[in-house]
Symmetry: D2
């Protein structure tokens, strides 16, 4: 049932599964005091440069929420896109754990601009009003588009102007790096990002995300925050081993390159049909398209996917490290037949 529903419908990449099998011997200290974790953190530091602190957690909601907690006090606001995962897909986890107010701004192709964000930075110093403290962006965005380093830098400059921090939800950060053809460092640390939720699960891992903090002062209490946030894994080696595999031999890049290429290919095929309107730039591993409404159900029956916007008949077609050309062919053939029927 390979499909376009979500990159978390995929299983685990064989090289990561192999790493898990390899890590499974003997006793090891728990809670991150094992050799695999030490080695893996070093890999992150190579990728992102020092200083940087790295913490492993279970999932994306945990990574984002705990990252925001590291940056805020509970009278703060977090400014994000109206489509931000933290705002619309993580229940009230951010509000409950940080106490902060999430303030959303309109986005263009899923991206927010300094102008829109600046509108929400006001009444600083007024205790009656929640105080802006974080700008949070998703890279890839929820529309599978990519922020260019200069766009990130512009948001970072705005953040610094007002004493705010810049958080990146990198659930699909590898897809972004491949799309930009840049190192992770170039569009995070070097573009002024303060803290990154580094995604693993959507790029072929079984579970586990990493939080990368560039300013050590912000990491000071993070070990406590992670524990009280219920995100500290006892057998940490099994998260680390997966990340070690992902960051070795360019697996992260191979997986993301494939997923992005499949999305590109799918988009190219779809663009041949005048009845289909691709609504977003296809920067990463997702294609957003408006389909003739009566075709959606039969197409879902062929290769499942989710409707993103019911009113607009806009669907989201996600590709993954394990998407095959076969699915694309089946999807396009079915579409073709339906349109000609």
């Amino acid at each position: 049932m390979r499909c376009f529903a979500s990159d978390n419908y995929s299983g685990v990449h064989p090289e990561i599964m192999e790493a898990l099998n390899r890590a499974n011997y003997e006793h090891m200290p728990s809670y991150g005091n094992d050799a695999i974790t030490t080695r893996t953190i070093a890999l992150f530091k190579d990728l992102f440069g020092e200083p940087c602190e790295v913490f492993f957690v279970y999932n994306g909601t945990g990574a984002n929420t705990l990252a925001l907690a590291a940056l805020t006090q509970r009278f703060n606001t977090v400014i994000c896109s109206e489509w931000a995962h933290i705002h619309v897909d993580e229940s009230t986890a951010p509000e409950n754990f940080t106490g902060c107010k999430l303030v959303s701004v309109p986005s263009h192709n899923g991206k927010i601009t300094p102008e829109a964000v600046e509108e929400k930075i006001h009444r600083l110093g007024d205790p009656h009003h929640a105080q802006a403290r974080v700008i949070s962006i998703s890279q890839l965005t929820e529309y599978a588009t990519v922020y260019h380093p200069e766009e990130i830098r512009a948001l970072s400059l705005l953040a610094k102007k007002y004493g705010l921090y810049l958080h990146m939800d990198g659930a699909r950060i590898s897809n972004a790096a491949v799309s930009l053809n840049l190192t992770f460092r170039a569009f995070t640390r070097e573009a002024g990002v303060d803290i990154v939720s580094f995604g693993g699960t959507k790029n072929g891992m079984m579970f586990g995300e990493a939080i990368v903090i560039f300013n050590p002062a912000l990491a000071q209490n993070f070990a406590y925050i992670r524990k009280l946030g219920m995100q500290l894994h006892s057998k940490t080696r099994y998260i680390s081993a997966q990340f070690e595999a992902l960051l070795s031999n360019d697996l992260w890049k191979r997986n993301a390159t494939h997923a992005n290429r499949m999305a590109r290919k799918l988009a190219d095929e779809l663009s041949r049909f005048p009845e289909v309107k691709i609504t977003q730039p296809v920067d990463g591993n997702g294609v957003f398209a408006v389909l003739p409404p009566q075709l959606i159900k039969p197409l879902q029956d062929e290769v499942f996917f989710y409707v993103w916007n019911e009113k607009r008949n806009e669907v989201r077609l996600m590709c993954s490290f394990d998407t095959q050309e076969e699915e694309i062919k089946r999807f396009v053939n079915r579409l073709s037949k339906l349109l000609n029927a």
Copy 2:
């Protein structure tokens, strides 16, 4: 480095690892809507009887904290042993997530009594005073002792008398079942327990715990609580597959039986030394013993373990599904040599 430090120093049992490998094919719906999860929940229902609702989460702190959240409002108290994991080893996760006050009572061999608990149930109906709502027990206890069904039933009767609930932290529930030689049902549902944190990680899993709720009304909002508690796994199949293996072919029992037997053997060996005082009944997979203080460090160098109580020179020796007689021999030989030196 096989050791007696903790049952979470162990790796993953080969049958569980095999199940993970087997589950790793194709796409599957995420967030628990997959066939493996459906099958595994049915296994739980077979074990515990119906009605019962089952939810998978990442870890023990998550399982306990979310279970308590299902039972309480934030002006409540949770009464537990002074040694309860929720009280001394989960940071302030329970307080932060539930808002409740944890009220601890003295324990005997890690177990709490109705008399001690009843002392903490007072001023019911007085808004100035946090209102007792949950009794929480650990099975095995943190001293690796076991509650007998009649002890649990007595606590349950007390709970019912005052309108409280009874929670069981079953991080080592399999070791308890083996120790009691009873079905899970006999000392949970049938003994008046309302909600169980069913442990997986300490009995050979890689990650994942289950929450078992007998009263469907208490489960009503649990899906929301789990999500906002950051404990909903996208690729749920990989938790379910592990539990499926654990609950199939009596793997849970084989693992726990072995661990308990190793602890028994270790205790038997130690009891031959008059210089060693075993401090707790060895009901499960742990041995607590007072050692001559000068021997602790050299023994830790041989087979690592943790000091439980520095003042009393009491150490904790945990056995696991993968403990081998070899470690016991090495430990006892070293002890013997040190005592004769």
Copy 3:
């Protein structure tokens, strides 16, 4: 320094001050168990009809936040105007105390419509998405406009359609009642409102607000919520005595009538100047107007007021029970001179 800054710049109405002096004798049971409180709650029940439960708290932020807590679980959302006091003037008190997400919608003259609200009610039953539970309106609105009963009823019908509750922030509810020339009951209980924050401080009291709950089931745990919310006053009689005075001899009505009349008069005077644009219907005790920017500072020096919207040069002129025609004259004279200068 009588001014148009805010109705909380005013002091305490003499009849209320007199009531406080009268209440100040002998000992009385604390925490609301006194005779004055009993009498005053009966007055509320007369006004609002039965069943209804009444709780006194300290301030408006407390009243609103605790009211929302009575209606929600922490995976819920509260839908309100983008200008709602709970959203922009109460820091993160609602988020911190309830855990909920506040979702704002655009307003017209400070009022929200069922159409705008319905856009924010979606993905019900989806644990990933915060679940809509409350519609909150301010009566008067923050723009000092008034909701008509049919507007409230329309929002209430929408609420019922989706199983939501309707909360009214009545910080200026007396001004609204006078403006509508209706009983409180007619535009609250009878219009489908579930819970009211009944304002005292802005209508001549020293401190204290009331929460009026029509559905007794929603009041069940409120005494506990109030205590843990730090809003239970020990010497409750001093809140009750003020409300008793306010609700006796139509003081609430006399105060609000005067304040509304002063605003009307101020607006009438201002509308004679073509350079001044009144931006909102003057339903209650506030006037919103765009002034020539260079006049704002000198006018503030004469009779102080706040700028509401810096970009638009829109100012807010609030009248109170103690506003005198004298201030209006001074303000208008100064404006006239400045315009002719």
Copy 4:
């Protein structure tokens, strides 16, 4: 119905009522930007010395809870007496607002010792265990006993040794100052206290408490914390005016002296009866005594008071600024008659 139930059964002292009447004129800036507040904060600074930051809040639960929030992060513990008001009489307000765990220690005459507290400071640096951060003492204690400066200093030294803070719940701080015959400064700032909840309501005020912070760094975000804690009063002048009266002309001292003297007198009278056992040193304005059980109800009917400990037949008799010898006489006469009956 003058009685011994509580010092918050009393009304408002006439000089404070007079101050409220005096403050009630014209408009004043709200939220503490008024002249009375400025003057009153200066009075506090005179009493406590500089640097010191002063914040007014509504009530004792608010003062204590917000003070603790200023000192902690939510993975911390607050160590206090088993009888501490924050632990047994403020519902779960401290846990909910701070996220911290309250850890109680046994007390002697309501007072805690460095030895007992040090037992609870352990596992510092271990993220699994809530981290000790505050020692909180009540002055007077809940048993109306007083800490001597050297006792406070000893706790402060312990706090400093481990990087903890020392909080004083001074709901009855004036009674303590009178009892010790010392300045406030001598047993707070100069004894190493970091933050004080300064009580007003129990010493003759209508409402209002103050938080006094000696270390300005700890006060940095307090204005935000107070607002989100729902404890910022709009018409602040009415809290300030009361404190101004209380701190002027030694009213605080006259009130507390009288209340203490009445308790002393009551205790002296009671000690004449061999059937009555006074259980605590009578340092302040309360007497704790064991009474013959069958006399409690008839005595309550004469002059009401609360039973403190049902099992021990221990009652609490509180005196206040307005207690009169008349009540003492009535109480003692009734007791005498009952004993002779």
